[in-house]
Structures are given as structure tokens and as C-alpha cells.
């Protein structure tokens, strides 16, 4: 979900960028393990929530950049609403009586 949101906010980003962004925005509280980042990206590629393409970011290097698709946007929306629902439920439990 976080990956999707990152892509939604930043448009097109490569793997390193996504990891860095999440790290920064959450102020080091949350860190995406590289070991799970790439498999997650693969899963999303299969499901069609993101697309990937190679861009020449540098004269000597190229990076693979991920972009959100409309289907991905829909998935993001549903995930966010689900998350909010769960958060609300937990909040109700935790709140002081």
C-alpha cells in the first residue's frame, strides 16, 4: 500500500527512489526492506497495478521506473479505505473509555 501511495504521489520512481521516499517521509520509522521491495514490485507488475519502463537517467546508466496504472489507483483507493476502517476500529478499542 505504501509503495502504491508513494507512486501516486511522486508519479514515476525507480526502486531506490521508492525506498528512500518512504524512509524519509516516515522519518526513519518505517523502512522498506530491499529484500521485500522488489518481490512486491513484481507482484504488482503481475497484477497490473504498476507498469515499468527503462529510462536513461544518466549518460552511462539507465534506471527502471515504475508508474501507477488506473487499476493501481483503484487498488490504492480500496486499500486505503480498508486501512482507515481498521484504524478506526482499533482506535475505538484503545480510546480511553
Amino acid at each position: 500500500m505504501l509503495i502504491l501511495k508513494t507512486l501516486a504521489r511522486c508519479g514515476a520512481l525507480h526502486g531506490y527512489g521508492i525506498a528512500k521516499y518512504i524512509q524519509q517521509v516516515t522519518e526513519e520509522v518505517l523502512r522498506v526492506e530491499e529484500g521485500s521491495l522488489y518481490p512486491a514490485l513484481q507482484r504488482m507488475l503481475i497484477k497490473g497495478w504498476v507498469t515499468a519502463e527503462w529510462v536513461q537517467s544518466h549518460p552511462k546508466r539507465r534506471a527502471r521506473v515504475y508508474r501507477l496504472t488506473p487499476a493501481g489507483r483503484r487498488q490504492l483507493a480500496s486499500e486505503v479505505s480498508e486501512f482507515t476502517r481498521v484504524m478506526g476500529a482499533i482506535a475505538r478499542v484503545i480510546q480511553p473509555a
Binding site: G15, Y16, Y38, P39
Partner: protein
């Protein structure tokens, strides 16, 4: 609805997997570089930055693999990858692969071939509807030890009239006809049958019709049914043949039908005619002691064989009381078709062979397991490295199993090829009189059996090593270098256990082969009672039409024999109704002069009819009295008896001049001569009391001629044909073969059994030897270090040698012990196949034990020798 798109993407991935890998690698590399850059910006030096970035990434290879995993083809990919790797390693270790493939191909192939034969002969159901309701009826005389005798016509008639447990009974009498067609005379194996014969079997002619009961009478019986083969061969499958006449024995018979192509009844009968049981036409049919009919019946629904047997016993007893002279002591014995067509000894022989082949496969598997085990040990390093790279235990096991499975499948395919050709080879080599053998072909069951075998084999061979090799605990020592396992490790113990089992199994097989071989040798040495060397035999059948009375028949044979004797290269000639050691038998009861009513137990003897000079030609000694002469005719009363009969009937008197009554009736014959005993029935059975009639006396038209030649008997066949043809052009001679060939055929089954079992046991011995060699070499290699230390400490070469050999000696002794125990349990299965040798024959046991011990010690000598020559300096240095 997302999943079809899903699937599509996944499939696309399958085709671009290599590009995917490259791209992902590149991506990860970029990520790491950027991370390292950031680290440098944060103050680390270049190298530390790089390593820090790498550490954050963790195991890149694993990452790659996990990414691939999400695409979901992981199982298929893993199998393919394992398979390719397996193929590559197979190509690299050619010797190993070749050994395994050959062992497997031979083991699986041999097993399938034997199974095909066992299936064709024994397991398949008989080709008649409801074959378990079919029964063969024999007359039996248990007091004399005769359990399977043909029935006589009057007895058969009475059985038919009195029984109620069968839907119907039918009789069959084997005969031959000379079929003359287009100037060509050919002899045809035929049978006279009652009209109930085919309906009982549940088959009907493919063309035309069966016989009707009216055709069983004289005057109406000149009709015939042809076999499909005969119809095709001699008449070109001409449909118009039905209703036309053919010439059998120079008489016209009308063809009424043709049997279906796949019809078979025990032997290759090609022609059927109705049997005439009327005693008025054939006087000998009235004789209740003349047993020459085969009787079959189909049980009524709901009646069991025991019930039927009980009723037939009662009927037999009634007949005994009614006709004491002929039927005293005679009972009826029922036998189901499957028991009859596949006799117990054949069944047992086939199962023994099957078991032997199974044992060989077992040993082969043990050897292969040992090989795989050794190989897996050598690859320990590789396994460890893979494990460190992240392969799970499952992965390693799967890799090893895939290799194993692949090898076994190849071996299986090769094995099927061997099975196909092996079956043909076996069928050609086996004794030809085994029923249904010619129909042995690779079918579904055999195929399924092979696949099952392959599966079990691969499990047996691959599983233990695979699990052993992936044991990661012992691996640490390997990584540190050195050959790893101490000599007493559980792995080598497993291998020693396998070899132990191999030796024990090989021992059992060798004992079996040894016993059979000795039996066969004993069989070859029995006293025959005649001299089979250089004797040519052939058969002639004079057709009734042209040789109706006995004088004419006798005259023909006398003249023929005279002309044969005049030929160059011929020493003697004679003829008889039946030769020793050929199939079929004519038996009758005889009465002795001077027996009172209470003593009148009919002695049952074998009967033959002979021409003069038959005994001389065959080398049967004339002990007393004289032979028949050409002057004997239908009015003669002379009869010749065998020595055994003479001693039994007249123990202390001169048998010459005594009177014998053959069969029923009051006709007494005088004994004019006594000849030596002859083994008539089989090599394994002793000679039986026999009486010899003069052929001229009885007027027999079909005789087997025997000719003693100076050189090779078979070179005279053409000359014989010429002589007979010059006397009667339409008379063929058939079944020409030498007496030695007949002898060989008589011992064909034991020879085949002994040969095959010996072959298997030798293969087993070879495999066991290879196993011992492998295990010993391996043990020596493992203990190089230890041996080096021993030698450095002063142990001489011979003591090292002794150490290695002693280990193996213990192994052999234990194996022999197990083997002897197993043998004592298993040889009861062979005891029926033995002749003149007991299953616990000490000579065989001792000899084989010594042989095995010697071979094993020899095999372990070479590695032991190698051990003794180890240079201690080298051994201690290299690790």
C-alpha cells in the same frame, strides 16, 4: 476477471525470463550503487560504503530468486533447471551414467520380458467364455499311481448317461490325416470330436456350422471342420470351400465349417472330424480297458468342482462293481482347465524364474544405490556450497531425486527395448510345448509393470542417498577440507549392509542354479534302455481307404522296411506305434492265466505294437525267446513282454509260454519273448511294465518307422521319402527327426530352467562382486590417512592386507550364514524341479559357499593390494 490477464502476463514472463533476470540484476545493481553513493555522501569511505550497501540488500541471489518466485512458475522452472543440471552432470561422469543405464536396462528389461511370458502363459484368462466352469475329466488309478489317464469309450458313454452335474460332456481323440490337395500330400494334425465339443468350449465356427449328433455315426461322419490357418494355407481362404469335398486319407470329406483365427485348444489341431464311438464300426471301442479319449465338460451353473467330483466318484464306483474285470481300481479325476493347461510344475518353474529375475534386479538396485551413495558423498562440497547460498534441504533432495528419476527413466526406455527383443528371444529358446507361449507380447499389463518397477527402483536407489547427502551437519567438516567421513560412518555402514544383502541373494540364486544343473546332468545320465545314436525316425499313416485290411497294411510295412534296409548306409529298420519319450500313451489292463477270480486284478501296462526288427534297430536287448517275424499275421497269438512285467507277473518262473489276456474278452496270447525295460514316458520316470503286440497281428496303419544309419541319420530323410513315394505316391512321410532330437526335446524343459537360472545367478554374482569391489575400494580410500599412520608406525604391508581382507571375510561369512538360512527356507519351491538331487545337497551347498567366498576375497584383493602399497608419506601429506 483479473486472472486471465494475470495468466497471460505470467506466460509472457516465461518466454522472457532471461531478459527479466538481466534487467532485475541491473536494477538491483543500480539500487546498490545509489545506496553506496548516499553512504559516501554521509561520510563513509568508498569501500565501507559499498559493503554497507550490500549488507542492506542482504542476499542478492536469494532476492533474485524470490522475485522470480512471484511469477509463479517456480516449480516448473525448478524441475527444468534440475533436469538440465542432471543431464549435464550425466554427460560429465560418463562411466557412472553408462554403468547405471546398462544395469537398469538389463534389470528392468529382463524382468519385463519374464513377466510378459508369465502373463501370457499363466495370468491371462483362457480364451473361452467362463473358463473356470470348464473341467477336464481323467480316468485315474491311484493304487498304481496313475492320475491322468485317458478314458475308454464305454466308460465315457456311461459317464454321459449317468451324470447330472455337467451341462454336457465331450470326447476328443487325437489323430492325423493325410490331406491330398492339388497333387500335394500333407499331414494334418487332427482330432475326432463329439458334436458337443465346441459348444462346451463356447466357441462356434467362424464360417459354416458345427457337427450335428447324427454325424457321429458311421456313414454320416465324413464331414470336417478346418482351422483358420489350414483354410488360409492350403485353400487360399476360399469361401466357396464350405460344402465342397476334400480328400482325407484318400476319402472324400465335406467341409462344413472353418474355425475362427484365434481359436486354440491346447495343441495346434488343424482339422476336426466327428468321432464315431459305435463299437460295431470300430471294435476296439468296445474295450473298456482301451483308454484313448480325452474328455471335457462344462459344469452346470451353481455346481462346484467338489460336488461334481463327488458325483463322478460315485459313478466310477458303480462302474467298478458292474465291470470288475476292467474297471477295478479305476476312478475319475476332475481337473479345472487352468490346472490342466498350465501344469503345476510349469507354474512353479515360471514363478521360480520370475523370483530369480526379481532377485537380480534387487541386487542391481542395491549396487546402484551404493553407487549413488558414493557419488553423493563426493558431491558433499557442492551440496554445502549450495546450502550456504540459500538452497533448502528440499531443494537438494529434489536435485538428487531428479537426477535419479531421469537416469531411471532412460534406463526404463532402454529396458523396454530389451524387453521386447528379450521376449522374442526367450520364446524362441523355451521348450515349444508350453501352452500359449506363442502369444507372448508386450501388452498393457507388462507396460504398467515396467513403469511400476521403474518407480520403485528409482525410489529404492535414490531416496536413501538423497536424504543422506543433504545432511548438513556432517558437511562442516567437508568445507574445512579433507575427505570428510570417517570410515565407520553411517553411510559406509549402509553400503556394507547393501553388499551383504547382495552376497546373500547371489548365494541363494547360485544354489538354485547349481541344484538345477546337477539335476539336469543326472537326467542326462539315466539308463534309457535303448540306444538313441544314429537313429532316424519318421511317421507314416496308411489311409483306411486303400489299406483297409490288416494283411495289406502288414504287407506294406514289411516291403517298405525291406527296401529301406537295402539302402546304403542303413544298418537296421523297424517300426512301432509309438517311440519312447514321445507324447501320448496307450495303456491297457491285462489278465494273467491261472489267476483265480479273487486274484483277478487287472494289471495295467503300457502297450505298443511293433514290427519285426524294431527292438534290434532301437538297441533294446532281447533277453529271452524270440522277436516277431514276418510270418506273423492276424491269426498269430504271440506277444512280447518287458523284463519288468515278466518279473512281476511270474516272479520265479520262465515267462516264455505263459498266457496273457489283453483287455476284455477271452483272447489269450502267448509270451514268445522278453525284452529289456525302456523309459517310455519321460526321462524322470522309471520304466513301466510294457507289452508288445505284433503290428501285423493287430492291423495298425499308422506307425513310426525307425532306421539305424551309419552316419548322420538326418541325411537319409530324402532317401526314405523316395522309397515310400515309390511305393505309394500319395503317401507323405512326416515328423522326420533323429532319436537324439527327440531325446533333446524330452529334456528341453529342465535344460532351459537350469540354463536360465544359471545365467541369472551368474549375473547376480557379477553384480555382487562389483559391489564388493566398489565398497572395498571406497573403504580403502577413506582410510588412506589411517593406513598411512599405521604404516608409519611400523605395520608391514601384509598386515594391512590382512586387515582389509579380514573385514571382508567377516562380511562374507555373515552373508553366507544368511544365505544358507534363506536357502533352507526357499528350496522347497525348487524341490519339484529336481531329479536325483535333494534340496539340501551338501556338495552343492559347500561348493557354492566356497566359490562365493573365493570370488569375494579375490574381488577385495585388488583394493587391499592397493592399500598395502600406500606410501605412508603420501597418505599423511595429502588430505
Amino acid at each position: 476477471m483479473a486472472w486471465p490477464v494475470d495468466l497471460y502476463r505470467r506466460v509472457c514472463f516465461l518466454f522472457r525470463s532471461r531478459r527479466f533476470e538481466r534487467e532485475l540484476e541491473e536494477e538491483i545493481r543500480l539500487h546498490m550503487e545509489m545506496q553506496a553513493e548516499e553512504n559516501r555522501e554521509n561520510g563513509m569511505d568508498a569501500e565501507a560504503a559499498h559493503y554497507a550497501a550490500m549488507r542492506r540488500f542482504g542476499n542478492a541471489t536469494l532476492l533474485l530468486e524470490r522475485s522470480r518466485e512471484t511469477w509463479g512458475w517456480i516449480t516448473l522452472e525448478t524441475w527444468i533447471r534440475d533436469a538440465r543440471y542432471a543431464l549435464r552432470s550425466m554427460r560429465q561422469s560418463r562411466g557412472f551414467t553408462a554403468t547405471v543405464l546398462i544395469t537398469l536396462a538389463l534389470g528392468i528389461g529382463a524382468n519385463t520380458a519374464i513377466f510378459t511370458i508369465v502373463n501370457a502363459v499363466m495370468l491371462r484368462p483362457l480364451p473361452y467364455p467362463e473358463p473356470d466352469r470348464l473341467v477336464r475329466l481323467w480316468e485315474s488309478n491311484p493304487q498304481r499311481g496313475w492320475l491322468s489317464f485317458s478314458a475308454s469309450a464305454p466308460n465315457f458313454d456311461d459317464w454321459r448317461k449317468l451324470q447330472s452335474v455337467f451341462t454336457e460332456l465331450a470326447a476328443e481323440e487325437i489323430t492325423t490325416f493325410n490331406l491330398t490337395h492339388d497333387d500335394d500330400a500333407v499331414r494334418v494334425l487332427s482330432a475326432g470330436v463329439t458334436s458337443s465339443f465346441f459348444p462346451i468350449l463356447g466357441v462356434s465356427p467362424a464360417l459354416g456350422r458345427n457337427f450335428i449328433p447324427e454325424e457321429e455315426q458311421a456313414g454320416h461322419n465324413h464331414v470336417a471342420l478346418l482351422s483358420y490357418g489350414l483354410w488360409q494355407r492350403s485353400f487360399g481362404a476360399d469361401i466357396g470351400l464350405i460344402g465342397r469335398k476334400i480328400q482325407l486319407n484318400s476319402e472324400s470329406y465335406t467341409v462344413v465349417g472353418v474355425m475362427a483365427p484365434d481359436f486354440q485348444f491346447v495343441r495346434n489341431t488343424e482339422l476336426w472330424v466327428p468321432i464315431v464311438l459305435d463299437p460295431a464300426v470300430r471294435p476296439w471301442r468296445a474295450d473298456r480297458s482301451n483308454h484313448n479319449l480325452g474328455v471335457i465338460g462344462r459344469l452346470e451353473p451353481g455346481v462346484s468342482v467338489t460336488q461334481a467330483q463327488a458325483q463322478m466318484d460315485a459313478i466310477a464306483r458303480r462302474l467298478e462293481q458292474q465291470y470288475p474285470a476292467s474297471n477295478n481300481g479305476w476312478g475319475v479325476r476332475l481337473q479345472t482347465f487352468s490346472e490342466w493347461i498350465i501344469p503345476e510344475d510349469l507354474r512353479r518353474a515360471l514363478w521360480v524364474l520370475f523370483g530369480a529375475v526379481g532377485c537380480v534386479l534387487l541386487i542391481a538396485c542395491a549396487n546402484l544405490a551404493s553407487l549413488f551413495l558414493a557419488r553423493a558423498t563426493r558431491r558433499q562440497r557442492e551440496m554445502m556450497i549450495r546450502s550456504a547460498l540459500g538452497a533448502s534441504r528440499m531443494n537438494l533432495v529434489r536435485q538428487l531425486l531428479t537426477e535419479c528419476l531421469l537416469l531411471v527413466s532412460f534406463g526404463c526406455v532402454a529396458g523396454l527395448l530389451i524387453a521386447r527383443h528379450g521376449t522374442d528371444l526367450l520364446v524362441a529358446c523355451m521348450p515349444q510345448d508350453i501352452p500359449r507361449l506363442s502369444e507372448a507380447a508386450l501388452d498393457f499389463r507388462a507396460l504398467g509393470f515396467t513403469l511400476l518397477l521403474a518407480l520403485l527402483t528409482s525410489l529404492a536407489v535414490g531416496l536413501a542417498p538423497a536424504f543422506q547427502a543433504s545432511h548438513t551437519d556432517a558437511g562442516m567438516a567437508v568445507l574445512k577440507g579433507g575427505s570428510g567421513n570417517p570410515a565407520g560412518g553411517s553411510r559406509s555402514r549402509l553400503r556394507r549392509l547393501l553388499v551383504l544383502m547382495e552376497i546373500a541373494v547371489a548365494f541363494v540364486l547360485l544354489i538354485g542354479a547349481g541344484l538345477l544343473a546337477r539335476s539336469f546332468v543326472r537326467l542326462q545320465r539315466v539308463t534309457l534302455g535303448f540306444n538313441p545314436e544314429n537313429v532316424l525316425t519318421f511317421q507314416i499313416a496308411l489311409p483306411d481307404s486303400r489299406y483297409r485290411d490288416s494283411t495289406r497294411q502288414a504287407a506294406f510295412y514289411a516291403r517298405a522296411l525291406e527296401r529301406i534296409r537295402a539302402l546304403p548306409g542303413v544298418l537296421a529298420a523297424g517300426a512301432a506305434t509309438q517311440l519312447p519319450l514321445t507324447r501320448g500313451n496307450w495303456a491297457m489292463g491285462i489278465g494273467l492265466e491261472g489267476q483265480t477270480a479273487s486274484q483277478a486284478e487287472a494289471l495295467s501296462v503300457d502297450a505298443r505294437a511293433v514290427t519285426p526288427h524294431f527292438f534290434g534297430t532301437m538297441g533294446i536287448p532281447l533277453l529271452r525267446g524270440s522277436d516277431f517275424t514276418d510270418r506273423d499275421g492276424p491269426d498269430s497269438t504271440g506277444i512280447i513282454v518287458s523284463d519288468d512285467l515278466a518279473r512281476r507277473a511270474w516272479p520265479h518262473e520262465d515267462p516264455l509260454g505263459k498266457k496273457i489276456r489283453a483287455g476284455d474278452g477271452d483272447f489269450w496270447r502267448t509270451v514268445i519273448g522278453v525284452v529289456g525295460d525302456v523309459r517310455n514316458i519321460s526321462l524322470a520316470r522309471d520304466s513301466r511294465p510294457t507289452i508288445y503286440f505284433s503290428a501285423a497281428q493287430l492291423g495298425i496303419g499308422a506307425l513310426t518307422v525307425v532306421v539305424r544309419t551309419t552316419g548322420n541319420p538326418e541325411s537319409q530323410v530324402a532317401a526314405m521319402r523316395h522309397v515310400i513315394a515309390s511305393m505309394d505316391r500319395s503317401l507323405p512321410i512326416y515328423n522326420a527327426r533323429s532319436m537324439t532330437a527327440i531325446l533333446a526335446a524330452a529334456s528341453a524343459q529342465p535344460r532351459f530352467n537350469a540354463a536360465l537360472l544359471s545365467a541369472f545367478s551368474l549375473v547376480a554374482l557379477a553384480l555382487a562382486t562389483a559391489g564388493i569391489y566398489g565398497v572395498t575400494s571406497y573403504a580403502v580410500a577413506q582410510r588412506t590417512h589411517e593406513i598411512g599412520i599405521r604404516m608409519a608406525l611400523g605395520a608391514g604391508r601384509s598386515s594391512v592386507l590382512r586387515m582389509v581382507l579380514r573385514q571382508n571375510l567377516t562380511l562374507v561369512l555373515v552373508a553366507l550364514g544368511i544365505g544358507i538360512a534363506a536357502t533352507s527356507m526357499l528350496t522347497r519351491f525348487i524341490s519339484g524341479m529336481l531329479f536325483g538331487v535333494s534340496p539340501a545337497d551338501p556338495v552343492t551347498l559347500g561348493g557354492i559357499a566356497l566359490l562365493l567366498a573365493a570370488v569375494v576375497l579375490l574381488a577385495s584383493c585388488i583394493p587391499a593390494h592397493r592399500a598395502a602399497r600406500i606410501d605412508p608419506v603420501e597418505a599423511l601429506r595429502c588430505e
